[in-house]
Symmetry: C2
Subunit: 200 residues, 2 copies
DNA sequence: TGTACATCAGTGAACGCGCGTTCACTGATGTAC
DNA sequence: TGTACATCAGTGAACGCGCGTTCACTGATGTAC
């Protein structure tokens, strides 16, 4: 760490981690490649051996965050048996992830990136995939008629509450985890009824 | 417009309008005071007679956008008679505003700003106020038990769908207004059932 | 096991750029008498 | 109505800054024989 090490061996990972730290501390606007390089103990040119440019590093970060959020939701669903419980668990996991990692959550949905990730069919697209499967289970037991609409509605509710908590008027509440939990509990309890509705 | 006009008379408004145009074209990241000044036909120093700095101009823009969104929602509610119809109308107006003015919508909820605007009580806070009143009407006729939770749920759903449409995986759909309208129709139809749920 | 050499992943100086903001100035407008 | 003067709202040159990115370079690593 003292002398210039011409082969760091692990630099790409370190750069991604340091970049994430910056974003989480000061927001994405404050991110600069130079600062990241410096923090990693490396010269300003070094990152260019691992990323084409700044945007590519950010994109890498967004992908990682998306995967984490997706995995968290998936795990939450698998921890439950009935589809009703699964739905609730996914909703809770999603909102809590957002509250606990607001900058990562924003990153995932920052408009440069996100348009791409539902170009895939609904049972393959990250995030949507998890929810979609649960809603299909609800359909199978007659609690949902229109899977597409129900999935979008459920996702919308959960996503909206998450967003209001981190970027909106509910922000002040988001520092009080107990209060957040209570709210999330209430909202996700209602989730199942949203699905029951459009039986026309 | 040819000679230097030492008293423009209307510069503040013009600056705000030009700034908004830039944001709507290229996003907020591309906004610079110098470009705005140039577009307004004025020297780089001129804006400083009207705004303390760049952030203050942006804040001004956010306030204006918030007021427009608020007024739009309010008007939508007043166009209807039954609280059920009001709720649906507000939801539609909200989502459509977001789809039609995505950058303004983002501006309102950009995290620098928005924490502030629910420091006020719920029947005074912009946006929330409109929704809150409608939900109270629903409570009065027995369709809602917990006003607070119902209001947050309803807002969450509508806000989430709006966000998914402009920044998320539903983005591709947002260019097709007909499709958007169909979705909004479906989702806001479900809205009323969300409220009926938490009667415990 | 040793040597020649290609490739990889660093260095650090340098580039140009656009930005926010300041400042001394100036001309137009409004006000007091 | 005219004059003196304060204030207002522009100008445009200049400041320093941090940034993304490039480039010639260098030392370490991996590979072929």
């Amino acid at each position: 760490m003292e002398k210039p090490a011409y082969h760091h061996g692990n630099l790409k990972q370190v750069l991604l981690e340091e970049a994430l730290k910056f974003i989480e501390t000061d927001g994405i606007k404050a991110l600069s490649l130079r600062k990241v390089a410096k923090q990693a103990g490396v010269s300003p040119g070094a990152p260019y051996h691992h990323f084409k440019n700044k945007d590519e590093l950010i994109a890498g970060l967004a992908v990682r965050s998306l995967e984490k959020l997706d995995a968290t939701s998936e795990a939450a669903a698998q921890g439950q048996i009935s589809p009703q419980e699964k739905l609730k668990a996914v909703g809770k996991a999603y909102i809590l992830y957002a509250v606990e990692n607001p900058e990562q959550f924003r990153l995932v949905f920052s408009s440069e990136q996100s348009g791409s990730f539902l170009s895939q069919p609904p049972n393959e697209a990250p995030l949507f995939r998890v929810l979609y499967k649960v809603i299909e289970e609800l359909e199978a037991i007659g609690l949902v008629s229109n899977v597409q609409v129900a999935a979008i509605t459920a996702w919308g509710l959960v996503h909206g509450v998450a967003t209001l908590l981190i970027d909106g008027p509910l922000q002040p509440m988001s520092t009080d985890l107990e209060q957040v939990n209570a709210l999330v509990e209430e909202v996700t309890s209602g989730l199942i009824y949203v699905q029951a509705a459009p039986k026309r």
